[in-house]
Symmetry: C2
Subunit: 469 residues, 2 copies
């Protein structure tokens, strides 16, 4: 028999009547332009300026002879790191391609390991936020861009560089550490990488997260706004963001949409079957029409890109100085979707692109994806399809137009102009040439949750166009 | 001003108020056990007996020296066809595998081209029917099995064999010829093929189809019934059938299911990241612990399989006689899912399997997939997980148990026992060992519409278990 005791009630819990779904929470975050507790876009810009001021970071092109830790092998001429890790510059022989040049060889980045691009998510005062990093990369035209929480190759996180551990990596490599919102194996640039893929991961945590100075919680809406600023959100952040489950498949997937998915799969598989493109790695020394000087490996007509050496000094990286090769493109690229909104759904014109380094030969790419300078002097019939339409678009038809960089860890000042150009029903009604097909954006947002469908340029644009759906 | 004219009314059309969706039509076909106009299972059996009687087909094992059109190359010892086409028997070197044998080499089928497995569909009196073929294959234990409408390698349909064209192929290679219900690039056996994939296609036509004697329309329900007969429905028909859109993703895909899909993708990607398995093609002559005699290539302990030569005579094939190698397994395999139905959803225990020839190293496989004889004499700790549970299952717990053959075009009398064994919540509640995970069947039916997730043995079982969902 016990005496009277104080009854302790559990604290009142105000749960919503229906738990909100992931898509709903992502959409709410997309409509939110202020991070609870830490402010809006002005505060983000202040923080970025401060990070740029506090951290030192310099990239200096150097002759290959001064490229610390790297050498050309005697037998193949490949450019390799002394650890055998990271990546190699090798040769790629491509034959059976469509178009005026069916056969060529070129330098290529060979990195036969799967990297991790991880974005940590957490609800802050009920708003789903993403932890971005103010990351300095050697190839960045403006040194610092917003990156995912983690951006690591296997070599990095095995710490082949002998430096510090990668922050927050445990959320993406320890199973069960959080709730997985996305985890998709996606390709990188098929024009520069040989079958390289990364895991695009978004993990939500309920844990308390210590936010280091170079990191910051942002809303999806803030990221969408920042995607409209030149060279602000890096490629890795864009491809991870494209996988965010903003729409519930249940809503998008009626019977008609399912039929259309099968039709798209069939169209892509037909393109793969039809393609006779064959690519294989060859010694860098055997690559035809490319010349190696003391400073660069260049095409004999100065087209496409150069491979250069750089020395990097950084105050806030796992190691504070290192040498590495980078791919330096010639000229600025154009990456564009034609968009049509006259038929209910928002539709984009997709191009089935076969590239030498694409893991499975063909992926769905944007309507236009090229460096116009590479086509300089060629007749009209050999210019990229729809490039003229994109270039001559009336200002009122331009729905999106921003300079975005390719990944600064591999590319030197690789800036492309990303566009979305609205077209009328007349363009939409004409039969597109072989290899092009109109698809509903919501179809692409469903497909991007699986690997092997969309190339990295298309995924970048998908991230930028999320506010449109 | 015209005179009175006879008014011709269009014929009355009785369309349903709502057009039926594909999933609904597939489900209706699954509930139908009679093909309109041509009868039920007894008529199908009669037809099969007649086809077996009318067509002559013999397979005779022969020494390699008598294997018409094939030879071992001088430099590598690979077994190749004189055309350079079809396939080659090469060597595969596998290292970094889990388990007691981390490194081995073995013969492997190398066929670096994508085949077509096509099932033609058509509504007959409102019932969706599939056109199956009574196909004789050299390795079939019973000569004749039900196959998809088209089962062709690229070499076949390019007619490298110099024979007749493949019937009905145009429905699967000419875009726009019909309505695509499924078109998925799926892998074949990772234990015997090097990264081989096929397009699994289902195309629905409205055209009149001339049905050749060796072909017949069947309902999905009839196929499900025939899948319960030993060695009746061949492997190619099973994997294509597994892709049939029996359930609408809209119904299956609420927010919770979407989260679970991401979790499964993450689990699979983790398994890929963790796997250190590396496999590469090597000369057949360099394969260790395998011996070539006049009649066969065999493992020194007579385990696993043999490569043998056969001469084939057929009255109803594109060419009427040919020689070819076949893979002859040692002993009968066991392929099984543990099934639990205590938690609302029908769930199966999936095993993330790394195999030497799997295109992307790891795929989701059945709970058990092994040839028990290969483990003869090994201690209990090295026996395949859950094999004992499957073998000792009480009759009342066996939900499916049928002998099914692997593809008779590559395998000689390769018969496996396919099972589904029900388990209680006690088994379901215990934490499965690493590499195993319970998944809802409906999740797998959604994933099988994309390539790279499910291996061919799991897909076979998915086809057999369709009536369960």
């Amino acid at each position: 028999m016990r005496g009277a005791a104080t009854v302790v009630l559990p604290p009142a819990v105000h749960e919503p009547l229906t738990p909100r779904g992931t898509a709903e929470r992502c959409l709410e975050s997309a409509r939110t332009s202020t991070t609870p507790g830490t402010g809006g876009l002005p505060e983000i810009r202040q923080w970025l300026e401060e990070r740029a001021r506090v951290n030192e970071f310099t990239t200096t092109p150097v002759p290959f002879a001064q490229l610390d830790g790297w050498r050309f092998t005697d037998d193949t001429g490949d450019l390799v790191h002394r650890s055998g890790g990271f990546f190699r510059i090798r040769g790629l022989d491509v034959s059976g391609a469509d178009g005026p040049v069916p056969h060529w060889s070129q330098p290529v980045i060979d990195q036969p390991e799967v990297g991790v691009l991880g974005m940590l998510a957490k609800e802050i005062d009920g708003v789903l936020c993403l932890l971005v990093q103010a990351k300095m990369e050697p190839g960045n035209i403006n040194v610092l861009q917003l990156s995912p929480t983690v951006q690591a190759t296997r070599s990095n996180f095995l710490r082949l560089h002998g430096g510090a551990a990668t922050r927050y990596l445990e959320y993406f490599t320890e199973p069960g550490r959080g709730r997985v919102l996305a985890d998709v194996l996606h390709s990188e640039q098929g024009g520069s990488f040989y079958r390289k893929r990364n895991r695009n991961i978004i993990v939500e945590t309920d844990e308390d997260v210590v936010v280091h100075d170079d990191y910051r919680w942002v809303t999806v809406g803030q990221l969408h706004a920042l995607l409209r600023e030149d060279n602000m959100v890096n490629m890795d952040a864009r491809t991870v963001l494209s996988c965010l489950p903003l729409s519930a498949p249940a809503a998008a997937f009626d019977d008609a949409a399912q039929s259309e998915t099968a039709a798209i799969q069939s169209w892509l598989n037909n393109a793969k079957s039809r393609s006779s493109l064959v690519s294989r790695l060859v010694p860098l020394a055997s690559v035809d029409r490319w010349r190696r000087s003391e400073d660069a490996i260049s095409h004999e007509e100065n087209r496409y890109f150069q491979v250069i050496g750089t020395m990097v000094r950084a105050s806030n990286r796992e190691v504070t100085s290192w040498g590495q090769p980078l791919i330096a493109p010639r000229g600025r690229g154009v990456v564009a979707f034609l968009v049509c909104r006259t038929r209910g759904d928002v539709e984009v014109l997709v191009h089935a692109r076969a590239e030498g380094g694409t893991p499975d030969v063909v992926e769905l790419g944007p309507t236009v994806q090229c460096v116009p300078d590479n086509f300089h002097g060629l007749p009209a019939g050999q210019q990229p399809r729809y490039l003229d339409l994109v270039r001559e678009a009336a200002p009122g038809d331009i729905l999106y137009d921003t300079l975005l960089s390719e990944e600064g860890g591999r590319f030197y000042q690789a800036e492309n102009r990303y566009l979305a150009v609205g077209v009328d029903d007349e363009v939409r009604s004409s039969t597109p040439p072989p290899g092009f097909r109109w698809m509903a954006l919501r179809q692409l947002y469903a497909l991007v949750r699986h690997g092997g469908y969309l190339n990295v340029e298309a995924r970048s644009l998908l991230a930028c166009l999320q506010p449109m759906v």
